[in-house]
């Protein structure tokens, strides 16, 4: 019932809200924090820790936005959302930005009234099965029961894949990540599918991790990124450039430890990034040291990747596609100039 009240209240806020409103940046500055929509707990992306705070790569993007605006990465409030609730929450203005491992897709960019602002993490859909089932490839899954999260692009890709390969399957859909994992673990399903980062993250929560196998195939492109409402371009620019600042910082070798000293570097690109040269904050409606604040308070892209999902985390996911373009990956940020 709580769910319905929540949805109903969000619908009501679309229904009753006055049509005219100030820009998101003004709203955020006035209330003094960024309201950020995150998942209800996905290790590495956004999950609550034992001290009541939030960690993860999606969370760090929210913190970067707050650091750019306020010079303080902690001025963020988090709204945990299910996959089903997330879009209504953004449409209704409950949250300022949705940073919740959400796949960039055309209909979401258009009909839903959103703008995707960069790709925080390049992902792809994979499958996990029990080793005892003897399944070695997705092609062996004909006739299988598959557990999947309700209302995700994953569920659609699953349908497409089985349909185009003339395979039968039975989808079992739940609203929450932990319900999906529990159903898979109880044996209700033969396979569990989600973005492959999610498979690795959720395998950590299973009782006998060695019993489960992530299949080698990746069956889709899942560019995960932050989402804002369509039409407020200034706010969208801030979200994009918070990510680009972290990527550029990694490319230029600037990190949270050396940023202070790098401010007086001879390299004009670094000087522009850190706000010692030029007035690049102005166009965004931010102070000129916006990117400096992000790097000092949150870190560069390599730092947030490693501590949340990479080699410094229990997930231990290799950089892969998410390496910089200079290092064999496809992460590429436009220059600051």
């Amino acid at each position: 019932m709580r769910k319905y009240l929540f949805m109903a209240s969000m619908v009501a806020s679309i229904t009753f809200a006055s049509a005219a409103s100030a820009t998101t940046l003004d709203d955020v500055k006035k209330k003094g924090f960024v309201q950020c929509g995150v998942s209800q707990g996905l290790k590495g992306f956004s999950s609550p820790d034992d001290k009541g705070g939030w960690t993860g790569i999606d969370v760090d993007l929210c913190r970067a936005i707050a650091a750019a605006i306020f010079g303080d990465a902690e001025k963020v409030k988090y709204t945990p959302l299910s996959a089903k609730e997330r879009f209504t929450a953004l449409q209704s203005g409950e949250i300022d930005v949705l940073s919740r491992n959400t796949t960039w897709a055309l209909s979401r960019d258009t009909a839903l009234g959103f703008d995707f602002r960069g790709v925080t993490y390049y992902d792809g859909q994979g499958f996990m099965v029990r080793k005892s089932s003897g399944v070695k490839s997705v092609r062996d899954l004909d006739g299988a029961t598959v557990c999947v999260l309700m209302g995700t692009s994953t569920a659609l890709t699953l349908a497409d894949y089985f349909r185009s390969n003339n395979m039968k399957y039975e989808p079992i859909t739940f609203e929450k990540d932990d319900e999906v994992v529990a159903a898979y673990e109880s044996g209700r399903c033969d396979a569990y599918t989600t973005d492959s980062s999610g498979l690795y993250a959720n395998r950590l929560t299973l009782k006998d991790q060695q019993e489960h196998l992530v299949l080698p195939e990746i069956i889709s492109k899942e560019p995960l990124g932050a989402v804002v409402r369509h039409g407020d371009n200034q706010w969208g620019d801030i979200v994009s450039w918070a990510l680009y600042a972290m990527l550029n910082a990694e490319e230029l070798g600037v990190n949270s430890k050396n940023a202070e000293g790098m401010r007086e570097s001879d390299n004009p690109e670094i000087r522009r990034l850190l706000g010692t040269e030029g007035k690049f904050g102005e166009g965004l409606g931010l102070p000129d040291d916006w990117a400096y604040n992000i790097i000092v308070k949150v870190g560069n892209y390599a730092e947030i990747f490693d501590r949340n999902v990479g080699k410094g985390s229990p997930l231990g996911i290799p950089r892969g596609l998410n390496a910089l373009w200079t290092q064999g990956g496809i992460q590429y940020a436009p220059p600051i100039r």
């Binding site: 809200a17 089903k84 009909a111 349908a159 399957y169 109880s186």
Partner: protein, 385 residues
Amino acid sequence: MQKKAFWNDPRYRAWFFQVLAVLLAGGFFASIAANTVANLNQLNVASGFGFLQHTAGFGISQTLIEYSEASTYGRAFLVALLNTLLVAGIGIVCATVLGFLVGIARLSSNWLVAKLATVYIETFRNIPLLLQILFWYTAVLSNLPAPRDSMQFGGMLLNKRGLYAPAPVGEPGFEYVMLAFAVALLGIIILRRLSERKRMNTGAGLPVLFPGLGLVFGVPLLVFWLAGSPLHFEVPELRGFNFVGGLRAVPELLALVFALSIYTASFIAEIVRSGIQAVNWGQSEAALALGLRRPEVLRLVVVPQALRVIIPPLTSQFLNLTKNSSLAAALAYPELASVFAGTVLNQTGQAVEVLAITMAVYLSLSLLTSMAMNFYNSRIALVER
């Protein structure tokens, strides 16, 4: 006589305020609608009901009608609606039967039976329904064996993936058996009419029970044998991961039906008990004094009067059960709240339209149930002469 000013005339005044109230209410809703449309346009959110014709693209685990990933959202809506109706229909029948049994048991003169019924009622009506649903789903049904080591009883199979039964498949000639069955039913109705007429005339009716049973079983069986047994059973077979063929109830449906019927039956039991106790004991005494036997007292005197008390609150329980079926969103049962107000809402992002349709459906279902029950209630109501 002095003519009153028209604003002091109660006739005009009453009309004036009624019209004013209607205008204000109408204006209020119109402004909300206009405001919603303006907001949606400003947010660049698509609106309107055109999305129902778009391809859905997702799969549904239980479909009573033809459905594939290439079907439309409108089709997905129908599938979900039928799944809701299925669980509500089965739930209402089970809850009513169980509720009547427990309600009568609670009034039993047998101490043990009465106490057991009391314990049942007090346990199940005092535990939140969602917990009961989750209990049946996670604690009971998901601990069943895997498909490979299914439990077997009779031709039925029970495992984590559901309850499987052989499906009867009619061969050519089976339609005669169905026809014979229909004829037998018609025969029973005629027999009852004749018996009633004879009883009115002579005071003693015809025997109905045994000839009736003979008709309803004997005639179709005879035709079945004459037509050369035109029926075989399709037995579910383990193929790959799951059993294929036969009839199947998914565990989500089972959990939901168990929880909804057991929970609602505890309320119905109390309604039945109160209905029976509302019939004055003098009625039974009078009937006994007239020489009716115990079962006849119950059937002819107590139950018809008790039903008048039972039906209105029973209707509310049926409505509750239908609406409570939306708690299935907590399991993976693909009914209206989970498929339409869940997946479809999420994919189209058209929360206002989807929720409006969903609410309208639950409202219409409830109104239809009330209408049917009110009709029945008026049939059995006390006829004053």
